[in-house]
Each structure stands twice: as structure tokens, then as C-alpha cells.
């Protein structure tokens, strides 16, 4: 018979109506699945009692797909068909992936997202992630005794649209209903019950196997808002292992080891690191295949000293996130530690000193994200009364905007806006009789299109022919709770509309997000000048085109010498447009304006005369 769980008072479900919901931490190195059972959030273990599922998938030549520990142990013998850390490729094109040459995979560039060639054909990162999710789903269904209603899946706060969409697609492929994508730091805060805590600012310090993320959250009236995120995509616990590894090799005075010995020493280095989180010293004794021996003792103090630089490296992004949020360390009310590497005492000490308080470490740092996701999933699946419901707010990592004339970006939704959000802005036509408008959606902080990331393009057609500037085109940006963008454009007088769900062809690397942010700050001055220049160019071009059109229509109003003056001013304008000098361009625009003043006045007279021709004063 079915096994029952204890419900909250008055909330026993009807038979066959269990809403089984899980939270999934789909990590770069390891993944976990958790649920709320008997009102207690728990991580679900596999048959061997292991909570972590290595995020590794092996595609065998025999057609078998192996996920987790078994795939991980095959990594050395079959590196090409064994995909690890696939999260780094989610929603990325080949050009976005850093260090392609140092990875054992055969990459294929495909439209939208990179593919990995395996014994079972080309696999997209979405498919690989789906295999990981499928393994977690079957673990969950075996543990809970029934099909899942849905899942909350966590993603890094800086994940862009493409990466979030790719994650959702992977879940769908694995047969999981996504209740919500949840930012990892927000999940960690929920696991610590900070949503029930007093209002204030919290920092989430997440040092995982290979990545570091810092997030600043604001809790007000039970609502979480991510104020800022920062991090280092190439810094994690593995770097600490590597530091110990190097020390073991150097201190033992042995040459560069072979592949097998390297793995052995690396494993010992990792073990030593882990032991030092609990003990003051550790002995490392390894015999290598070359006959060389490592026989060393490492103390906690020495380990701390040799890895202090790595710890310090996490503090720079931490400072930056605080600066982005306009805060100082003292403003932070609580610090949540996430990721196995935060078990190291000197990491905890450094974070404690930085924020001037003891960080929260009483939950297992490997599990806190999954647990927070499970708590959220339980609420979203309807297993808690409405009164206890809460709303989560996240932010957009980079501004979203549109291309306008002159290759400039008009920001519609600024960076760090909370989502879900919707904003609209009105645009107009540039040319007389313009009947279509290209909408180019961009993400980034810079002023020029070429410095931002292109997300999507579409066209609004069927604009009635009108004079330039007369059409009113309302462009609306909408970002849903999962951070996915849809853009629509509507011509207000006729109601013609075009829209696009931004399922961007590819997204931004997190270090690219960081770089773009940094560029945005560093180039602010330069960008301002570029914007001024581009704006003047647009104005010059408009004046030039209008004058040419007028000359065509009413050129007979000018005598030869007058015509020469206007032509000269047009030529000057055309030259200035090509130059980089904003002041010269402004001057040329003013000169051309003055040169055509008289001409414009005569045209005005003529059109009035035409309008009045043959009509008596009385009829006016």
C-alpha cells in the first residue's frame, strides 16, 4: 500500500491527490533534489545514501546513457563522451565558451547553442542537462512513490534569458513541469528561513567547486529582491585543491607526474583540504607509479597561508556587489554561506571579518540551495495555505533596450529592475512615408549597439504612411517571473502590432556580463561622447535629406548664387557627418540651418499661396 506522510493540521490531501513537488539544484559540479516531507525539507539520497549527483553524463558507444558517479569515474578513460560541467555551455554559442582548446570535447558550432559530439551523435547542452534532470526526477519519484507535480529549479542570479530558457527547455525535455526558476542565492536565503526573519539586507556568499558568486538580497515585507550580483566564473574549491597539489609536488621535489599519478595526487590534495576543515593537521602519504613518494604533513595554518590569495580574490567581487547596491559591509544584516568550499575555516573567518559578523553556516552548504528550492516548490504546488505564501522578486542582470537611429541603444528596462516587470516607451518614424520599423532588442550597459549583445530582431509592418515623426509606435517590454522577455510593438493610430518572445539565439557568459558591466562604468565618458556624436549625425542626416527633398520640389525658388550657398552647406554637412568631431558637426548643422532659412521661408510662402489661390478673403 501507499506510504503516507504527515500533513500539516487540516491539510491532509484526498487519496491520489498528493502534490509531489521537488526543488532541484542543477549545479555545475553536482546536482541535488530535495522535497518537503512531513513538513520538513529533506534532500533525497540515492540507493547508496549519497545526496550529491555529479553533474556528469556519459554517452556510451553502446547507446547507454550513464549519469552521476559512474559517469564521473569513466571521465579519465572516455573523456570525449563524458560531459562534465555542462552548465557552462547552457545557452551559449561556441564563441562564448572560454578555453575550448583545453577541454577534451569535440565542439560543433550550431545556430543558437554549441553542440558536443559524442558516440551518440551531437548533443546540445540542453539534452545533457535533461539527462541529469531525468536522473534526479526518477530518484525523486522512487523516493516519493509517485509522479511529480512539478519542480523548482535554481539558476545563478546572473543567468540571462538564453540560459534560463535553456534550463526550462531541459526540464521540459526531462518531463518535468517547471513551477518556477529560482535564483540560487534567493533559494539559500529561503532555506535559512530569512523570509521569516526581520527585514533587512543579506549577503549570499557562494563558493562552489569551480565558481564563486556573491549576491546582495533585500528582504522587505516578506519579499526578496536581488539588489546586486557579482562573482568569478573561474574560482572555486578546485583551485584550493590545485594549490595543495602544487605544494605536494614542489615540497616532495618530484618532477611533473603522469596522468594517473596526477589524478592520485589531486585526490589526496582534495582529501587533505577536506580533513583540514575538521582537524588542525593532515598527513599525506602517497606512493607514485614512478616510485617517488610523497610523505608530508600539512597544518591548517600553512594551508590557510598558501590559499589566502584565493580567499582574498573572493572579496573583490564582494566589494563590487556591495558598491553596485550602494552599500557598505556594515549594512548587511546576515551572511549566508553556500557551497562546499565555505566549510574551510579560513574562508569563514575572512567573510566574518569582512562583514563584521559571524556568517550563517549551520545548514549543510552543499544542500542549502536545493532545500530552499524544495520549500518554494512546496508552496507553489499548493501544499501550504495561502496565508503563508510569499512572493519572490529577482532582478534583471543587464539593461534591456532597443536600437534607435544612429546605432544607439535606448534602455527600456534598466539593470537591476525587479521582475516581473513591464515597461513601454514610444518611438516614431524617421522618414516620411515610412511603413515598417525594425525592432532590435539588445542587452547591455553601453550606449552603442555594437557594444551590447543582440537578443532578437523583428519588424513592425503596416504602419500607415505619415510624415516623419508623426507615427506613434509603442514598444512594450515584459519580463516574466522566470526572467524571460517578450517584446511587442504597436502602432497606436491603427493598432497594427508585432511581437516576439525573446528566445535569444544565445546568451551572455557570466564573465561577459561582468565585463560588460565594467565596460559600462569605465567607458561612461566615452559613451556619452559617442552618443552625442551619433545624435548629431542623425540630426545632420535628417536635415540633409529634408533639404535635398525640398530642393527637388521647389528648387526653382532659388537663383543660381543662392542655390550655390545651399549646395555648399549640404556638402559641408555631408563631410561633417563622416567626421568624428561633434563640435564641427554641430556647427555644420547650424550653418546649414541658416543657409536654408530663407529658402524655407519662401517655400512656406509658396505653399500658403497655393493653398489660398483662387479663394476670396471672405471664404477664409
Amino acid at each position: 500500500m501507499a506510504l503516507l506522510q504527515i500533513a500539516e493540521p487540516g491539510e491532509s490531501t484526498a487519496p491520489h491527490q498528493h502534490r509531489l513537488a521537488v526543488g532541484i539544484d542543477l549545479g555545475t559540479t553536482n546536482s541535488l533534489v530535495a522535497t518537503v516531507r512531513n513538513s520538513v525539507p529533506v534532500v533525497l539520497n540515492d540507493e547508496q545514501g549519497r545526496a550529491l549527483l555529479p553533474s556528469v553524463v556519459r554517452y556510451g558507444a553502446d547507446g547507454g546513457v550513464v549519469v552521476g558517479h559512474a559517469a564521473q569515474s569513466a571521465q579519465a578513460q572516455d573523456p570525449r563522451n563524458t560531459i562534465a560541467s555542462v552548465k557552462r555551455f547552457m545557452g551559449r554559442s561556441l564563441s562564448d565558451v572560454a578555453h575550448v582548446e583545453s577541454m577534451p570535447y569535440v565542439f560543433e558550432d550550431a545556430p543558437g547553442m554549441v553542440r558536443l559530439r559524442t558516440a551518440q551523435g551531437a548533443k546540445s547542452p540542453v539534452e545533457v542537462s535533461a539527462d541529469i534532470l531525468r536522473a534526479l526526477r526518477s530518484r525523486a519519484e522512487d523516493s516519493l512513490g509517485g509522479p511529480l507535480t512539478g519542480a523548482v529549479i535554481t539558476v545563478p542570479a546572473y543567468f540571462d534569458d538564453a540560459q534560463r530558457q535553456a534550463t526550462k527547455d531541459a526540464a521540459r525535455l526531462a518531463g518535468l513541469e517547471v513551477l518556477r526558476l529560482l535564483n540560487e542565492p534567493t533559494a539559500a536565503a529561503i532555506a535559512y528561513g530569512l523570509d521569516n526573519a526581520s527585514e533587512g539586507l543579506y549577503a549570499v556568499y557562494d563558493l562552489g567547486g569551480g565558481t564563486f558568486d556573491i549576491s546582495i538580497l533585500k528582504l522587505s515585507r516578506g519579499v526578496f529582491e536581488v539588489l546586486a550580483t557579482s562573482g568569478d566564473a573561474a574560482l572555486g574549491g578546485d583551485d584550493f585543491d590545485h594549490r595543495v597539489y602544487c605544494w605536494l609536488i614542489e615540497a616532495s621535489r618530484i618532477g611533473p607526474p603522469g596522468l594517473e599519478d596526477m589524478r592520485l595526487v589531486h585526490m589526496e590534495a582534495r582529501r587533505a583540504k577536506e580533513v583540514l576543515s575538521a582537524q588542525d593537521s593532515v598527513h599525506v602519504g602517497v606512493k607514485l607509479s614512478t616510485g617517488d613518494e610523497i610523505d608530508l604533513t600539512l597544518t591548517r595554518a600553512d594551508f590557510a597561508a598558501m590559499t589566502q590569495k584565493l580567499v582574498d580574490k573572493t572579496l573583490a567581487p564582494t566589494r563590487k556587489a556591495l558598491r553596485d547596491a550602494g552599500l557598505s559591509p556594515q549594512d548587511v544584516k546576515g551572511v549566508v554561506m553556500v557551497g562546499g568550499a565555505t566549510r574551510m575555516p579560513h574562508v569563514q573567518r575572512a567573510v566574518g571579518e569582512f562583514f563584521g559578523q559571524v556568517p550563517l553556516t549551520n545548514l549543510d552548504p552543499d544542500k542549502v540551495v536545493a532545500i530552499g528550492a524544495a520549500i518554494q516548490a512546496n508552496v507553489l504546488a499548493g501544499n501550504r495555505s495561502a496565508g503563508e505564501d510569499w512572493l519572490l522578486l529577482d532582478v534583471i542582470p543587464l539593461s534591456l533596450g532597443l536600437e534607435t537611429m544612429g546605432g544607439l541603444v535606448e534602455k527600456v528596462i534598466p539593470r537591476n529592475s525587479t521582475i516581473p516587470t513591464a515597461r513601454a516607451q514610444e518611438f516614431t518614424t524617421f522618414k516620411d512615408g515610412q511603413t515598417a520599423m525594425a525592432i532590435h532588442v539588445l542587452q547591455g550597459e553601453r550606449e552603442r549597439v555594437s557594444d551590447c549583445r543582440s537578443l532578437a530582431r523583428f519588424e513592425l509592418r503596416g504602419i500607415p504612411p505619415m510624415a516623419a515623426g508623426a507615427a506613434r509606435i509603442r514598444v512594450s517590454f515584459q519580463v516574466d517571473a522566470d526572467g524571460l522577455l517578450s517584446v511587442s510593438a504597436r502602432e497606436m493610430t491603427t493598432g497594427v502590432e508585432a511581437r516576439i518572445e525573446v528566445k535569444p539565439s544565445y546568451g551572455l557568459a557570466d564573465d561577459e556580463v561582468a565585463r560588460m558591466l565594467k565596460d559600462g562604468f569605465e567607458h561612461a565618458q566615452e559613451d556619452m561622447k559617442a552618443r552625442a556624436l551619433a545624435e548629431q549625425r542623425v540630426e545632420a542626416q535628417r536635415l540633409h535629406d529634408a533639404t535635398v527633398a525640398a530642393l527637388l520640389a521647389d528648387g526653382d525658388l532659388l537663383d543660381t548664387s543662392e542655390r550655390a550657398v545651399v549646395d555648399a552647406s549640404l556638402a559641408a554637412l555631408a563631410t561633417a557627418v563622416k567626421g568624428e568631431d561633434v563640435a564641427a558637426l554641430k556647427q555644420a548643422i547650424n550653418d546649414a540651418g541658416r543657409a536654408t532659412d530663407e529658402f524655407a521661408a519662401r517655400r512656406m510662402n509658396r505653399s500658403i499661396q497655393r493653398a489660398l489661390a483662387g479663394r476670396s478673403v471672405e471664404s477664409l
Binding site: 503516507l4 504527515i6 491539510e11 484526498a14 487519496p15 491520489h16 520538513v40 522512487d142 516519493l144
Partner: protein
């Protein structure tokens, strides 16, 4: 007669209540629903109702409303593990037939 918990069930209930942070005991009962007429109710109890019948088993209080008792009198609640799944199981001597999954039953 009343209702009892196996020692294992009692240990788990006590553990869950401790982790949950509140609760005076466990409430068992039946409701009319499900494919075979009756369904079990298994909930945490935060308050004791005046009409509740209270049984104590291995240090855990089991609360039952008087109307439910005839259907589950003599039941032993066990905690079992089946593969990866684990949970509570009613060993109810009153049951004449139950639906395939055992979530609802008839007396």
C-alpha cells in the same frame, strides 16, 4: 483498544515534530472520500480538541476524534521503507477491502 505506534514510527514522528519546531502530537482519523469510501488522515496536531481521545505510544501522543475511532480502532501505525521511498503505513484490522494503492479503504 485504541491506536498504537510501532517504536520506529514513534521515533520518526518525534523526530519530525522536533524538526518542525512545534506540535503536541499526531492526529489520526478518517474521512469519507477516495475510491473505496474512506481515506486516512495523518496530520501534525498543534492543539488538543476537548473531544479528542488521546493515546500515548512510545512517548508520542496520538489524537483521534471519537467519530473516527470505530474505523481505525486497533490500528498499528508503522514506519516502513520500500526502496527509496519511506513513510507511514496503517495496519488496520477493520479494513475489509481497499483500493489498489491502499490510500482509501472500506470497513
Amino acid at each position: 483498544m485504541g491506536v498504537t505506534l510501532t517504536e520506529k514510527a514513534a521515533r520518526h514522528v518525534a523526530g519530525f515534530i522536533a524538526k518542525r519546531g512545534r506540535g503536541v502530537g499526531l492526529r489520526l482519523g478518517v474521512r469519507t472520500s477516495g475510491c473505496s469510501g474512506m481515506a486516512y488522515k495523518l496530520e501534525f496536531a498543534d492543539d488538543l480538541a476537548p473531544e479528542d481521545l488521546v493515546f500515548e505510544s512510545h512517548g508520542v501522543k496520538v489524537l483521534i476524534d471519537p467519530q473516527s475511532l470505530p474505523y481505525i480502532d486497533g490500528t498499528e501505525l508503522d514506519f516502513v521503507r520500500e526502496g527509496l521511498n519511506e513513510g507511514f503505513k496503517f495496519n488496520n484490522p477493520n479494513v475489509k477491502d481497499e483500493c489498489g494503492c491502499g490510500e482509501s479503504f472500506n470497513v
